[in-house]
């Protein structure tokens, strides 16, 4: 009954109701987007780090993995020591370098990752097989930039020799696989090769050095406990768990979180104001009607409920439309932010979780309820006789 009255009241002014619903829908869409933005980056980054089942990252002391050009020496001993720590199942060391790949019209710079192919967690094979000595796995961007395909050879060099006007330490490698590199941009030319091959380049400057290592822990072992044990065993490296890495990324992306909070709050405030204004005007318009209802014995509580239900219905209708609109705009906004240079394709800024939809809708319904409370309270306290007299005169 209350719902039917509320619906008929909303239908009485269709244009106004439609506009209010549209306004609430846009506010909800914005709210949903901001709720998704606040947590999306963190979630997708965590998923990216977890993708290959490594829970701990090691990097040169005081640095983050691949955040600097720093490397750690005496790597074999380090890897062996970490592998011997109780609870460590797999250690995957890697070394990063910039190499030169000559081509007909000059040369391009290629990111090279030296890995232990059997345990690596930097790429997934799309085609072909893992590399052995003298072979590489290339990213699609590298193949395109070098006009090569699976099975071809590619020349890669360690750098330039200005005196001889040629590339230095050029070697020919066979492309045996095409890989999707998790932590590098999709448009970045990358090759992965056996760690020992990369360490042997640069005239020995990279000998027995690594940039970072990933650690997979044995089932049933606590990540923090193993990380602490590694920290004690290998004081030359920083030990970073996935949770800590996500927290570090969070710090750097505080801008998006804060933006999400500010715009989300503004959206909620706009939704609240819209419903409150609409309900206030609606009550003012229906003072006579409410007075008559009260005069024929309708309880004040029922009047309050009817007005609150009206606000709730508006919120619900606008909210549901807004959720769909929000998902569409989130996809568009994610597409814009996905163009960040060097951003791994797996990273998304807007990640939908049912919880986000419930949060947005819940907040909006709460705002709608509160927005209806004050006008409802005013309607319930209406002096019946005065209102009827004023309405009759009007």
């Amino acid at each position: 009954m209350r719902a039917a009255l509320a619906v008929s009241s909303l239908l009485r002014n269709r244009a106004r109701t439609a506009l209010a619903v549209a306004g609430i829908a846009v506010a909800t869409a914005m709210l949903l987007d901001m709720v998704m933005l606040a947590s999306g980056m963190r979630l997708s980054f965590r998923d990216l780090l977890d993708a290959r089942g490594f829970q701990i990252r090691l990097s040169p002391k005081g640095t983050l993995p691949f955040d600097t050009e720093a490397t750690v020496g005496d790597a074999s001993a380090l890897v062996a020591a970490v592998a011997a720590v109780p609870g460590v199942a797999v250690v995957a060391p890697n070394l990063g370098a910039q190499l030169i790949a000559p081509r007909a019209d000059g040369a391009i710079t290629v990111a090279a990752i030296g890995v232990v192919p059997e345990v690596q967690g930097d790429f997934a094979l799309r085609d072909g097989r893992l590399p052995q000595s003298g072979e590489v796995v290339a990213s699609p961007a590298a193949l395109q930039a070098l006009s090569r395909s699976l099975g071809d050879t590619v020349t890669i060099a360690d750098g330039w020799d200005p005196q001889l006007r040629t590339v230095r330490e050029a070697v020919v490698r066979r492309i045996v696989g095409v890989g999707r590199f998790y932590y590098l941009g999709a448009d970045q030319p990358v090759v992965a090769l056996p760690l020992s091959d990369l360490q042997a380049s640069a005239q020995g400057a990279r000998a027995d050095r690594i940039s970072s290592a990933m650690v997979r822990i044995a089932p049933g072992r606590g990540v923090d406990e193993v990380a602490a044990a590694i920290g004690r065993t290998a004081p030359r490296v920083s030990v970073l768990t996935t949770a800590e890495a996500v927290s570090q990324a969070d710090e750097r992306l505080a801008y998006f979180r804060n933006l999400a909070f500010i715009l989300g709050s503004v959206s909620l405030a706009v939704g609240f104001l819209l419903i409150a204004t609409l309900m206030t005007v609606s009550v003012n318009e229906r003072i006579g009607e409410i007075a008559v209802q009260r005069a024929i014995g309708v309880a004040a509580s029922r009047i309050v409920q009817q007005i609150v239900v009206e606000g709730l219905l508006l919120s619900l209708l606008g909210g549901v439309i807004g959720l769909g609109l929000g998902l569409l705009t989130a996809r568009y906004l994610d597409h814009i932010l996905g163009a960040f240079p060097g951003l791994p394709p797996e990273i998304a800024f807007f990640v939908f979780q049912p919880r986000d939809a419930f949060t947005s809708l819940g907040l909006l319904l709460l705002a709608g309820t509160f927005a209806g409370v004050l006008p409802a309270y005013r309607a319930a306290r209406l002096p019946i006789a005065t209102a009827l007299r004023e309405e009759a005169v009007a």
Binding site: A22, M30, K61, G62, W160, L263, T277, V281, I336, P341
Partner: protein, 274 residues
């Protein structure tokens, strides 16, 4: 390369008169003054890696962070040392990562770039503007994102304004009906409503601009303190104010006109409920 110096290990402060005069000098990030309690004249030891043999240096200056958006969220410190000292510390030999060239005037720039690229091998010369475009790609993305958010906000504002105007005008339907009944033309009533809507929108824009300036100041103060940077995060410029006011007034005019048309389209007696 400078990032490799993150393993900076401060020594206990030493008095200036105790320092050997031949120690090289270093300029440290200003944040290190407060974070590590360092002062000019103190000695620090810089090493290429944690545990590696280091080089003692005397702090000769503290440098402020530049207003560089790409570095704002990076927490690590930057130190500046003489090139030869850094090359020696890193065992880098007689090598550099990059160097800058100043031409006599801008017309010589292109010629210089061409000449260097024709003769050099192993490196390329780029005009600074090209590098700025490349490094500005990140901010181009941010700009597009802000623009998209702006469009959504304008859409929400337009609907909100239209709704409010509609409610305001509808609330006064009896008054409008009376005006029509005493002889005011439909056009006069519409104009009055539109002028009123424009005035409300302009007033709202004025208040909103003030509110925006206050919020902008709060945002700047908060983030400048948080990131310890002179970077200005939010900038309220005359262009931005003009755009906001113009948009508000145009939206107000449009909303007022639509609301007025809706009401004046009905007969005065219908508006009075007769």
């Amino acid at each position: 390369m400078l990032h490799a110096l993150s393993a900076l290990a401060p020594l206990a402060a030493a008095l200036a008169f105790q320092l050997p005069p031949q120690l090289p000098t270093v300029a440290l990030d200003e944040r290190m003054r407060t974070d590590l309690g360092l002062a000019i004249g103190d000695t620090v030891e810089l090493a290429a890696a944690s545990g590696a043999p280091g080089q003692r240096m005397v702090i000769s200056a503290f440098t402020r962070r530049t207003a560089d958006p790409s570095e704002v969220a990076r927490a690590e410190y930057k130190v500046r040392v003489h090139l030869t000292d850094l090359q020696a510390l890193l065992r880098y030999g007689d090598r550099v990562d990059r160097f800058a060239v100043v031409t006599h005037d801008s017309s010589a720039r292109e010629a210089a770039v061409r000449a260097i690229n024709a003769r050099a091998f192993g490196f390329r010369a780029y005009p600074s503007a090209d590098i700025a475009v490349e490094t500005g790609r990140t901010f181009a993305v941010i700009n597009r994102f802000h623009r998209a958010i702006g469009v959504i906000t304008i859409l929400a504002s337009a609907i909100f304004l239209l709704c409010i105007m509609l409610l305001r005008v509808e609330e006064r339907r009896r008054e409008i009906a009376t005006l029509r009944l005493i002889g005011l033309s439909r056009r006069t009533v519409e104009r009055a409503i539109v002028v009123e809507a424009a005035a409300i929108a302009a007033l709202g824009a004025f208040v909103g601009t003030g509110l925006g300036a206050v919020v902008s100041a709060v945002v700047n103060r908060h983030y400048q303190a948080l990131y310890r940077t002179p970077l200005v995060f939010s900038l309220v410029t005359p262009d931005v104010i003009a755009l906001a006011v113009a948009l508000s007034v145009v939206l107000g005019l449009g909303a007022g006109w639509l609301a007025a048309r809706r009401l004046t389209g009905r007969a005065p007696l219908t508006l009075l409920g007769r």
